[in-house]
């Protein structure tokens, strides 16, 4: 697979690798994928309860180079955004930024699912109801 420079950079030195306390009230955890599929992403966000700004984001991924780069990039993009702004992150933006080949687009979809999963988890823990 001929990967882009940006992708290789994220793969070689991934950003924000780690674990937040999933039991903390202001941490949202998104765990998507399955070992049988060869892709598991865990994305976590630490949210400022007042401003709803994502203060910190961490990830760990079991997957190929594209999966790791996609989730690494996602954590970079999440930091500093509000959770509503974060919901607008679209997988195609990840595809463009990393120049993902067509056969790897599903890795970016998984990253988007992980973002949404983390935000949904935070909202559930904090009693935030989705607008009708």
């Amino acid at each position: 697979m001929a990967y882009s420079e940006k992708l290789l950079e994220h793969f070689k030195t991934p950003k924000n690798v780690g674990t937040l306390d999933k039991n903390a009230a202001n941490v949202g955890t998104g765990l998507v994928g399955a070992p049988e599929c060869g892709d598991v992403m865990r994305l976590q966000i630490e949210v400022d309860d007042e401003s709803k700004v994502i203060k910190d984001a961490k990830f760990k991924t079991f997957g190929c180079g594209s999966a790791i780069a996609s989730s690494s990039l996602a954590t970079e993009w999440l930091k500093g955004k509000t959770i509503d702004e974060a919901l607008a992150i679209d997988n195609m933006a990840i595809v463009e930024e990393l120049a993902l080949p067509p056969v790897k687009i599903h890795c970016s979809v998984l990253a988007e699912d992980a973002i949404k999963g983390a935000i949904s988890d935070y909202k559930k823990k904090n009693g935030i109801v989705e607008p009708a």
Partner: protein, 407 residues
């Protein structure tokens, strides 16, 4: 043979052409360039002579008669010719073929085509170590069975099937026995007559010969086997495979066979030593590593290891700037399916995604193995630091009990 610090451990995919083979081939491009079928002038005679010698060298390697060697463009063609050729030739005798789920695609896809042509094919399961169950094989045979197709050594795991035992069953039942022996010929002693194999496909580029040339062994006595040609036009190769012979490649193939016969025993011992060093070091350096396939009946130069909780393509990317290997991961295949061979061994998708195949070769050095041990160990540890399922495993979470949010 090594360009700077590049390490090649993917010899099951192809091998570098031995410089001695290249040297043998060169005169046949510009000097003895004639068509081997031109019987009426020195240009043709010189080419024919080169082919005759190569045919002897190839036959000699597998203890066959020169009249039993049909030159092809490779093992894929040989498999096609054997399977479809037997199916067509013996159609009055029956239409049932038995093979294994772990065969190469050249066999499996030919079988699929044969099914479309009205044939019946039984795809047998293998045991978890990759070996065929002989009683299941015998039980699958009917009075319509005309052919059993079982590969000598598996390309992914290196597992060697009990060829003599299979041959005995086929002889008893009067069924032809065909083998894709691509991964075995030239590397371990392969004697079709001694094992009861009637047809055997193999290729040059897996034994330090050039790409684009191979052979199909077709037994000519007790029983006399024939195949309906799949390539028509001129009647070359005893009417079984038409087409102008690729003389330089055939000459190279012959030379490669000669070298293999002479060097096989010593080389196999040396490679087994290096393979064992690589394998035991990796198993000792890290926990949760699993060797795939029977280790007693295995090619000396192959090891297929699953590194649990680490995905294969990602792992390869930690060292593939200078080490070449293969993986059974879905992420490395164009179809996004994990290795069907490893799945047939009952591995489970997650271990299939985590597998790496190391296949050593004639030009592999001990220094390269040492460097590989170091880089792969580093790579696995790095990927485990990134892996959420490794973290969960270390925390004592039962991963089989987790309900995954699949997409």
């Amino acid at each position: 043979m090594n360009q700077s610090n590049l390490i090649y451990l993917d010899n099951n995919s192809t091998t570098p052409t031995d410089p001695r083979v290249v040297e043998a081939m060169l005169p046949y491009f510009t000097q003895h360039f004639g068509n081997a079928a031109s019987r009426n002038h020195p240009f043709g005679w010189a080419a024919e002579s080169g082919v005759d010698k190569a045919r002897e060298q190839v036959a000699d390697l597998i203890n066959a008669d020169t009249r039993e060697i049909i030159f092809t463009s490779g093992a894929t063609e040989g498999d096609n010719l054997a399977l479809k050729g037997v199916f067509e030739m013996y159609s009055r005798k029956g239409n049932h073929i038995i093979t294994l789920k772990t065969e190469h695609k050249a066999v499996l896809d030919s079988c699929k085509k044969i099914e479309k042509m009205g044939g019946e094919v039984t795809y047998l399961d293998v045991n978890p170590d990759g070996l065929v169950d002989l009683s299941k094989l015998e039980a699958a045979m009917t009075d319509k069975t005309i052919l059993v197709s079982i590969m000598w050594a598996n390309n992914e795991t290196g597992v060697i099937q009990p060829m003599k035992a299979i041959g005995d069953i086929c002889a008893k039942k009067g069924v032809l026995f065909m083998s894709d022996a691509t991964q075995a010929v030239g590397k371990i002693p392969v004697d079709p007559k001694a094992t009861g194999v009637h047809l055997m496909a193999f290729t040059g580029h897996k034994m330090y010969g050039p790409k684009g040339v191979g052979a199909l062994y077709v037994n000519r006595k007790n029983p006399r086997v024939k195949v309906t040609s799949q390539m028509d036009g001129g009647g070359h190769e005893r009417g079984m495979r038409s087409g102008t012979l690729n003389v330089p490649a055939i000459v190279g193939f012959g030379k490669a066979a000669e070298l293999a016969k002479a060097e096989m025993e010593v080389e196999a011992k040396r490679l087994a030593g290096l393979r064992d060093k690589l394998e035991s070091a990796l198993m000792a350096n890290m926990e949760e590593c699993y060797i795939n396939g029977n280790t007693d009946h295995r090619m000396p130069h192959v090891t297929n290891i699953s590194f649990k909780h680490v995905e294969g393509e990602g792992l390869m990317m930690t060292f593939n700037q200078n080490i070449g290997v293969s993986s059974g991961s879905a992420c490395t295949s164009a179809s996004l399916e994990p290795s069907y061979v490893l799945i047939a061994l009952g591995l489970g998708d997650d271990l299939a995604h985590s597998s790496i195949r190391f296949s050593l070769g004639r030009f592999t050095t001990e220094a390269e193995i040492d460097a590989t041990i170091e880089q792969v160990t580093k790579g696995v540890n790095h990927m485990r630091d990134l892996s959420p399922i490794w973290e969960m495993y270390k925390e004592g979470v039962d991963l089989d009990a987790v309900v995954w949010a699949e997409h």
